[in-house]
Symmetry: C2
Subunit: 372 residues, 2 copies
């Protein structure tokens, strides 16, 4: 997994005439990434249900389904609505949806419209609202109980899973299984194997608890790109990785994406070289975001100048410190690898799709800004 850790990052050949800052994706790389993970999971008999919050694009979701994914994962009802409108008919909302107020009607409409629709739940009051929202509809709403694998975010402890599931069933909901997200895998490379074990163990424990309570758990779903291949197997029969499709600098540092698997780049132009020791590019906090894990220096990688550090971000200015003299010239367009692809994609209305340095299309980020 770390065999490629020292390999250099080669930026894509950018088409000329880009209007920067622009989000560029290399479609050849996207397709290879889509096939690679789907194939590896298929070989283990594990379903891939990719999380589309990374790209928020109907077209890319379809590309994943075409490459072997079985259904998709979304992070909220807004993404589900966009994907459903795009014709995708198997959607899991991996989130403890609180179906109150306007969300009750939106949930019900999705439940009515989508062939296979499921949502997460991690509390009895949450289950009560879900049940109330879909009361009187033709079929029961599918739910998966969220289990906390040690990430400390959402999800119940494995020994609470049966309580929530039994209550949910008594409210008329259909128990599809259990799911977990081992976000603690992202803390550092050395944490990944443990996080994957945590996912497998807590999900197995929760599934066993459901069975002891007389319930079934047909879906046992783990997530995250770093843990995807490590957690796939045993009781785990579904993987919800997302960022694997585009790659980013964080995954590269974690050893979870290959240097030739980096598909998403921000193209930026050097607009100022007035202050010595640095250049300024036109990608700032509203393009690159201030997402910065503590193991990465700066707010992205200027791949052609790997010693350069994107030190400070203003809204529309990125300050690139040059420890050595070599840096891009005024007016040069550079490709920046984002630290974290997901929030960066959400800054842009569209991708400029390229193959071998040529523009092949402008693809909308359909669910941009859909965060609830």
């Amino acid at each position: 997994m770390t065999a490629f850790a020292g390999a250099p990052v080669v930026p894509p050949v950018l088409p000329s005439g880009l209007d920067t800052p622009t989000l560029v994706i290399d479609v050849d790389v996207v397709e290879a990434n889509a096939r690679r993970l789907a194939g590896a999971l298929d070989a283990r008999g594990v379903r891939l249900r990719p999380h589309v919050k990374t790209h928020k694009s109907v077209r890319l979701a379809r590309l994943q389904l075409g490459a072997g994914a079985k259904g998709i994962t979304v992070g909220n009802l807004g993404e589900a609505e966009v994907m459903a409108a795009g014709g995708i008919d198997d959607i899991f909302v991996a989130y403890p949806v609180w179906a109150d107020g306007p969300k009750a009607g939106r949930l019900r409409a999705l439940h009515d419209a989508v062939r296979r629709f499921a949502v997460g739940v991690d509390s009895i009051p949450g289950a009560e609202r879900l049940a109330a929202a879909v009361a009187g509809t033709a079929r029961p709403l599918r739910v998966l109980v969220e289990i906390d694998p040690g990430n400390g975010r959402t999800g119940v402890a494995p020994n609470r899973a049966a309580d929530v599931a039994l209550t949910a069933r008594s409210l008329g909901l259909s128990i599809d299984g259990v799911f977990a997200f081992a976000g603690h895998a992202y803390r550092r490379r050395e944490a990944i194997a443990g996080a994957a074990s945590d996912e497998m163990a807590t999900l197995a424990g929760a599934a066993a608890a459901l069975r002891r309570a007389g319930l079934e758990a047909p879906v046992v779903s783990a997530g995250s790109t770093p843990t995807a291949l490590l957690a796939a197997g045993g009781e785990v029969n579904e993987i919800r990785a997302g960022t694997y499709l585009l790659g980013d600098r964080q995954l590269l540092a974690l050893g979870s994406v290959r240097p030739d698997g980096l598909a998403a780049w921000v193209a930026a132009t050097v607009v100022s070289t007035s202050v010595p020791g640095q250049v300024v590019v036109d990608a700032g906090a509203k393009s690159l975001t201030k997402d910065q894990p503590d193991y990465l220096e700066g707010y992205g990688l200027v791949a052609a100048y790997p010693d350069a550090v994107i030190d400070r971000l203003f809204d529309y200015h990125g300050i690139v410190r040059l420890p050595h003299a070599a840096g891009p010239r005024l007016g040069e367009v550079v490709a920046i690898l984002p630290n974290h692809a997901c929030p960066v994609v959400d800054q842009f209305d569209s991708f400029v799709a390229i193959r071998k340095g040529e523009v092949v299309g402008t693809w909308p980020v359909d669910a941009r800004g859909r965060s609830g």
Copy 2:
């Protein structure tokens, strides 16, 4: 200026039935903020040309103009295009626009369409491209030379201002004056007075250098909300503050906005309380952003629970640590004060505008995502 530093922050009364996460603005507060700064600057004979990158809203820009602002400032051509399409006819792009490729045509179209249009420049090659882009148009393009007041971002040293200005004039550009942005005022409260002095001194030096070179500098423009009132006067005859209109947690900590001047809030719902010692809200990194100056703890302030810390952000989850037992209940809607209003507004397609807890409209963030 710090008389209100200890005053508590009172969250707005939120209307019921909000579909969270949602960006809410209190229009009464916005109007009071708009009048207060415009009035204070008017009393000193200094023009206010607000930076609209904070709100990206034609309606709010018009509100500022109605309250006494003279023209607006934008951060890029995209914002200028949106504001021009909204009928605003006096626009300064406070950015060293690199007018190459698609931007050359866009710049030319704006120059043709907007009654009073000006852009920043901080290099001779930049001036050459500006001149080439508007070659053959009916009137010269107005430019302001950017001066670095010690922020170390963009802008030339004061003693270089005349070189750039003389070259720009020889290229057929019209020299409108000089401008500076003292971003170093945001580093800490104690830095503000010095940053304001830096702005005034460097701008005065640059204006004097232009005069010695036989040029005029009718506009001497300083910026930033923290330094606005401190820098207004002497040679400085224009202020480009932006965030003053909405306020945010950073400005509050700097003593640059009053607790009753906080107009922009993210409404979020508690969706999970499964992990002890914390609650989880549905505002994550794609709503609150990871903007966090080192003098603020957490990614925003849950005003009704001031001891709570928004400790970790995932895309759609905000983890709110509760050092004491008291915290919001499952399903409760809370108002979160963002650390930095500008990038947060840019996550949302619209504002929910309220007055006294009642919704009075949904106002588009017209220039959302326009970053270049």
